[in-house]
């Protein structure tokens, strides 16, 4: 506007007005670009799971939905495990939210529900058919009696122990390790010649936090008591730290900045003899490093001793709908459509054994069973399915625990990852650090 005023001056209009016009056109163009999408109904779908095979499955789900529902467009937008919290926080704050968010940890759901940001998911569950879900599959999403904040889209066994049978044989290891001592010995034996023992993360990120929570449980400890008092300051945590620190020399140097992608790639590319991951390993090995495809297997992660049971980290990948989402009718319809067998099976097959079905009707479906990788690694998939069914996470540490609505903030604050780094990398006094960490978690819970 101010530019237009100046055009009234008597001379030299051409160049200036040309500049002004271009400027105006550009900004107007940018505006219309952004608003044009709002003419028809467009649904935005966020997920941190977006490798090419999964994208292909999503594309099929979107196309079948769009064909059946003319006038509705669905756009998939990738997010990531390390950045979704910040992105969603910004999206909620601006009111420009995605319509559907899938594959986030279940504890994120409780957190957003508590802040009044989510739409009840009951309608979608009804559309899918509540009887099709495994019994109790959605119990953790039942935030008030009869009200569901979201639903599961799959289960995972995120801390499965992956092993290279060829390297084990070479090192003279007969059996998969059951305890930490056995694991450490095996990793040490297999290390060498450019191959490291394990790809445990020592970074300041959520993977380190989530994986270390597993180790606290594998030592027989817990982060919170069943009635959600902070319980991390325990001898079990100290044991877990001691073991984790001793594993450092058996992990690649860059493990100090590993997240899920790097840790996975380390095992898949053959750089480490053991791995800690979901069933995604299967698909990735077959696609990227087929030379080891006949010498991989998995089992539940070892615990400190035979008397402590294994503890599986089930991320409970979730699905939820933000309250502020536009076109709620179409949104719910599409949410239900994601569970439709054809697309849902394709989605699960994109990384067989990685995300395990939450619908028992699907698990039993011959079409789901009919997959070369699931057939080839039937035993591994069975182990992971069983582990994931009995799995927990920080939002829900055991069957006795109350759901923890602060789990998201505790994970995002990175205090647990910092504790791991302080002790394992900086050699600080574990007792002192664990005490401080307990206080910091306490502050987050209160804040």
């Amino acid at each position: 506007m101010t530019i237009r005023n100046l055009n009234n001056s008597p001379t030299g209009l051409t160049r200036r007005s040309a500049l002004a016009v271009t400027g105006g056109a550009l900004t107007a163009g940018a505006l219309s670009r952004a608003t044009s999408a709002q003419g028809a109904v467009t649904l935005r779908w966020w997920s941190p799971q977006s490798v090419p095979a999964q994208l292909a499955a999503y594309k099929l789900q979107i196309e079948t939905f769009e064909a059946a529902n003319p006038g509705i467009k669905v756009v998939f937008e990738p997010t990531s495990d390390e950045t979704y919290a910040a992105q969603l926080a910004a999206a909620f704050a601006s009111g420009q939210v995605p319509n559907i968010v899938t594959h986030l940890p279940s504890f994120a759901v409780g957190n957003y529900w508590r802040s009044g940001l989510l739409e009840p998911f009951n309608d979608v569950i009804q559309m899918v058919g509540p009887e099709k879900f495994y019994p109790g599959a959605n119990r953790i999403y039942e935030v008030e009696p009869g009200v569901f904040a979201g639903a599961g889209i799959g289960g995972t066994a995120a801390n499965s122990l992956w092993l290279r049978t060829d390297l084990m044989k070479k090192a003279g290891i007969a059996e998969a390790p059951k305890t930490w001592d056995e694991l450490r010995t095996a990793a040490r034996k297999m290390q060498g010649g450019g191959i490291y023992g394990a790809p445990l993360p020592y970074a300041r990120n959520s993977m380190t936090t989530l994986i270390f929570i597993c180790f606290i449980h594998l030592a027989g400890g817990q982060v919170f008591t069943p009635d959600l008092q902070v319980a991390i300051d325990s001898p079990e945590t100290l044991n877990a730290l001691e073991f984790y620190k001793s594993m450092r020399e058996l992990c690649p140097p860059g493990a100090t900045s590993y997240s899920w992608g790097e840790s996975l790639t380390a095992f898949v590319s053959g750089a480490t003899a053991t791995g800690i991951y979901t069933g995604r390993v299967l698909a990735n090995v077959n696609a990227q490093n087929p030379s080891i495809k006949d010498s991989i297997t998995c089992t539940t992660y070892p615990s400190i001793s035979a008397s402590v049971p294994s503890w599986t980290f089930n991320d409970f990948p979730s699905m939820f709908i933000p309250k502020a989402a536009k076109d709620m009718g179409a949104t719910k319809k599409f949410a239900a459509h994601i569970y439709a067998p054809e697309g849902y099976i394709k989605q699960l097959h994109a990384a067989p054994g990685h995300v395990l079905p939450v619908l028992k009707t699907i698990a039993d479906d011959p079409k789901y069973q009919d997959n070369p990788i699931i057939a080839k690694y039937a035993n591994e998939v069975k182990i992971m399915a069983a582990a994931s069914a009995g799995g927990f996470n920080l939002g829900f540490e055991s069957a006795k625990h109350k759901p923890n609505a602060k789990a998201g903030e505790v994970v995002n604050s990175a205090v647990i990852a910092e504790m791991v780094q302080r002790v394992c990398l900086n050699n600080e006094d574990p007792k002192k650090i664990v005490g401080e960490t307990a206080q910091r978690i306490e502050k987050i819970v209160k804040g």
Binding site: T2, I3, N5, L6, A85, A86, L88, A89, A90, F92, A93, Y112, S115, G116, L117, Y202, A203, R204, N205, P252, P253, G254, A255, T256, S257, A266, S269, A271, E409, N412, S413, A414, E418, Q421, R422, L425, N426, I444, G447
Partner: protein, 306 residues
């Protein structure tokens, strides 16, 4: 703006020429002033205002806490740690930039073959996106497949791959190095431009007086560069101090909080801890620190001049 209010309407006839020019001048600066008010002054004031609340980011619901955020921050080790880290990073990378920048400017001022290609190659890092620089360096630093580790193992400098980004002090050294690599061309451009304006006869006279290479550098070149170096240091110090992209993308602030500078702390508070008020307080404190340094800087600059 006060000028506009004080003066009669522009359409009025018989206005003094100087007044009319003043008015035109005010009109020309008006767009700038308007934009400044909207996108700089207003956000600045509201940053200070926001810092007095506790605000949950996703809902933007706030609660007045007065100076509570500041009290918490100043009492916590986190803020002081970030400030310390910030100063180490700024000083480290700035010194490297200056040394490398001046040295390469002198080199490029000489007559070497394919000089303009050499210049292009040297200047390029400065103009490339920080995102690209980070990707490239993270690939070079890669523990298993990075060329840097292999080159150093091949030459015998290392026996095991080095963890460039995950340990201290490596992580700090690495970001300082990459920062220097990315930003030293700014020093090169500025110094090179100034070198070209130093009259040759000064050197000729000095040579006749028997001054050696080094003496000519310290007696003629450096004093001639003083002014330009002053500005360059000023600018680079400001930019390095507030650098976010490079550090955030290289290390994310880790290991632990060893490379967590103030801008990263702001981002963490706002979007990881969902504490917008606390984040604003960090930002305001950061600005105060920067202002303090600027004032100090201008003072020393002025006294040095006298």
């Amino acid at each position: 703006m006060t000028a506009v209010e004080a003066l009669p309407r522009p359409a009025e006839q018989g206005l003094k020429l100087s007044t009319r020019y003043g008015l035109l001048g005010a009109l020309l600066i008006a767009p700038t002033v308007l934009i400044f008010c909207a996108v700089i002054v207003y956000p600045l004031v509201s940053a200070i205002y926001l810092s007095l609340f506790s605000i949950y980011t996703p809902t933007l619901k706030g609660r007045w806490v007065g100076l509570g955020n500041y009290a918490d921050l100043l009492a916590s080790g986190e803020f002081w740690n970030a400030l310390g880290v910030n100063l180490i990073w700024t000083a480290g990378t700035l010194v490297l930039q200056l040394v490398a920048g001046v040295a390469l400017a002198l080199l490029l001022h000489q007559n070497i073959v394919f000089r303009s290609l050499a210049r292009s190659l040297i200047l390029f890092p400065y103009f490339m996106s920080t995102v690209v620089a980070v990707l490239v360096w993270r690939w070079l630093f890669n523990d298993l497949y990075g060329i840097l580790n292999h080159a150093m193992m091949w030459t015998g400098l290392l026996s095991m791959p080095l963890d460039w980004l995950g340990r201290m002090p490596n992580a700090m050294i690495s970001v300082i190095l990459v920062g220097a690599w990315k930003y030293f061309p700014f020093v090169v451009i500025s110094v090179l431009a100034r070198l070209q304006t130093i009259p040759d006869h000064l050197y000729e006279a000095a040579t006749m007086d028997g001054a050696g290479r080094w003496a000519r550098f310290t007696d003629i070149t450096l004093p001639q560069l003083r002014e330009v170096l002053f500005i360059v240091i000023l600018l680079r110090a400001i930019w390095d101090f507030k650098e976010f992209d490079l550090i955030y993308l290289m290390t994310g602030g880790g290991p632990v909080t060893s490379t967590m500078t103030l801008p990263l702390l702001v981002y963490k508070q706002a979007f990881a801890l969902n504490e917008m008020g606390g984040a604003s307080a960090v930002a305001v404190l950061m600005m105060i620190v920067m202002l303090g340094f600027m004032v100090l800087y201008f003072r020393t600059g002025r006294t040095a001049e006298n």
